[in-house]
């Protein structure tokens, strides 16, 4: 039906490798035999109708969701069960959430320095200089002493990206990063993501932004009913989808 399991099965160079993953919520089979491999510097965009399991799949990669079956490797290392080893591995995987989730009790600057200081053991001065560089890069350096609630959604999400980047992750996961934003703020976040992609960051992006998928993706993963149904280049996917499910999905996007 779709491409070979495991995607680009070129072995050790994969930053993320997902093999035979299954997950159930009670009787609901939310992830069905998921296979995915993401190479270094690759930008993979995951599309699909809501409830297709794309967010769940994204969240399994840093074990915010557990799996029932299969294996997930980040940079060749099997995802640990719990405890310090898991925390260490999570530090290598940046995550950007739909609802930003900036630490409400910390300033913008502290949001970005916390991880480097507590997890990487970086000194305060160094962490702050790294954080200020990143905040400048995403265009919110002048907000550094404010609390997250004082920023707009778009600004908050850009801070969240800076917070994840401060850990120098091997891969960045974006779980519908623009779905909670007002329309006029979506572009500022997408622009940040596009420049990140251009710099060679490995990214897995769950989104409904087709423009971003066309512009920035190396590969499109299309999910429906917990399965990866189609896997192809953006060009191929948008102009010549192979499956009925994808055709149906795309036709709905166009008519609305």
């Amino acid at each position: 039906m779709s491409t070979a399991p495991g995607g680009r099965a070129d072995g050790s160079a994969n930053v993320v490798s997902v093999k035979g993953v299954n997950k159930h919520y009670g009787p609901l089979h939310v992830l069905k035999d998921i296979n995915l491999a993401v190479g270094k510097g690759e930008v993979v965009v995951v599309l699909g109708p809501s409830g297709s399991g794309k967010s769940t799949m994204c969240r399994t990669i840093n074990r915010l969701e557990t799996i029932d079956e299969g294996e997930i490797r980040v940079d060749g290392e099997l995802l640990p069960q719990e405890g310090k080893a898991l925390a260490k591995l999570r530090a290598e995987v940046g995550m950007v959430f739909q609802s930003f989730n900036l630490f409400a009790n910390k300033t913008i600057l502290q949001n970005v320095t916390l991880g480097p200081q507590k997890v990487r053991g970086m000194g305060k001065q160094e962490a702050e200089s790294v954080a200020l560089d990143l905040l400048a890069k995403v265009g919110v350096a002048n907000q550094k002493d404010k609390l997250p609630s004082q920023l707009s959604g778009g600004q908050q999400q850009r801070v969240a990206i800076a917070r994840a980047l401060a850990m120098r992750p091997k891969v960045m996961l974006f779980d519908e990063p623009t779905s909670a934003l007002d329309p006029e703020m979506i572009n500022e976040v997408l622009d940040t993501m596009i420049s990140l992609a251009k710099e060679g960051m490995t990214m897995i992006v769950v989104t409904h932004e087709m423009g971003f998928a066309r512009k920035a993706a190396d590969r499109i993963i299309f999910m429906a009913d917990g399965q990866i149904v189609e896997e192809s280049t953006p060009e191929e996917f948008f102009t010549n989808p192979r499956t009925e499910r994808a055709k149906d999905f795309l036709s709905k996007l166009i008519t609305h």
């Binding site: 925390a87 999570r90 609802s99 917070r163």
Partner: protein
């Protein structure tokens, strides 16, 4: 002046001084016993806040055994009347052949073990007010469970926890009087002591109550201070 006018034969001034004298003549006893009350309260408050925080952390821990131990502890001790807990330490403990401890120390242990269950549950309800996304974001940048709790979750839970936590502390302050039943000479024992000196029981009890009211008011002031300090921005 203290008692309403118009009760005939006795001039009000004489009666008023009786009420005041009950306090002033026995100030040594009042000071000593309320001092013990404050000692019981202060140590029990500090220890139960520490123990309660540990138990709350256990109850939200990702490790099932920790959660189980925390739950069993809270459900057994919290469901036992304080008098029984106190009785166990005052009467049962000395028979266990363990190192001999002062009754005041035993009372502090009993009050701590009992109050910590309430502290733990109060903290846990505060933890539940913090959106799940905060914990997920903390975990996602690689913070350990302890770090997420200490850096992100508990500081945010505190805001919601201040009023109910002071309820717990106020209850603890008043619960210290149960120790009077077990040879600890604190405020609850003042009446028995002063009855021997021939002081009117009712007046003594009113003074004890009045001093408790003042102490609780002081705690309420402290509560207001923390509420202001941790107000959501």
């Amino acid at each position: 002046m203290w008692v309403g006018a118009g009760d005939g034969a006795h001039p009000p001034v004489r009666k008023g001084s009786l009420v005041v004298n009950t306090l002033l003549d026995n100030l040594d006893i009042f000071v000593k016993h309320f001092g013990t009350t404050l000692v019981l309260f202060a140590w029990s408050a500090v220890f139960s806040l520490i123990l309660g925080t540990i138990v709350a952390a256990m109850r939200v821990s990702p490790v099932p055994i920790m959660r189980a131990v925390g739950t069993v502890y809270v459900n057994t001790v919290r469901n036992t009347p304080l008098t029984l807990v106190m009785m166990f330490f005052a009467l049962g403990y000395p028979q266990l052949g363990l190192p001999k401890l002062d009754y005041t120390v035993l009372a502090i242990i009993a009050l701590t073990l009992y109050t910590a269950t309430y502290v733990a549950e109060t903290l846990r309800s505060g933890i539940n007010t913090v959106p799940l996304g905060q914990a997920e974001a903390a975990r996602a940048i690689g913070l350990t469970f302890g770090q997420s709790l200490g850096q992100i979750i508990l500081p945010q839970a505190m805001r919601a926890v201040v009023p109910p936590m002071f309820n717990v502390l106020i209850a603890l302050l008043k619960n210290t009087t149960i120790a009077a039943g077990f040879s600890v000479l604190e405020a609850g024992a003042i009446r028995a002591f002063l009855s021997e000196r021939g002081e009117p029981a009712l007046v003594v009890l009113l003074w004890v109550a009045a001093i408790f009211v003042v102490l609780v008011l002081l705690l309420s002031l402290l509560q207001r201070y923390f509420e202001k300090k941790w107000r959501v921005a």
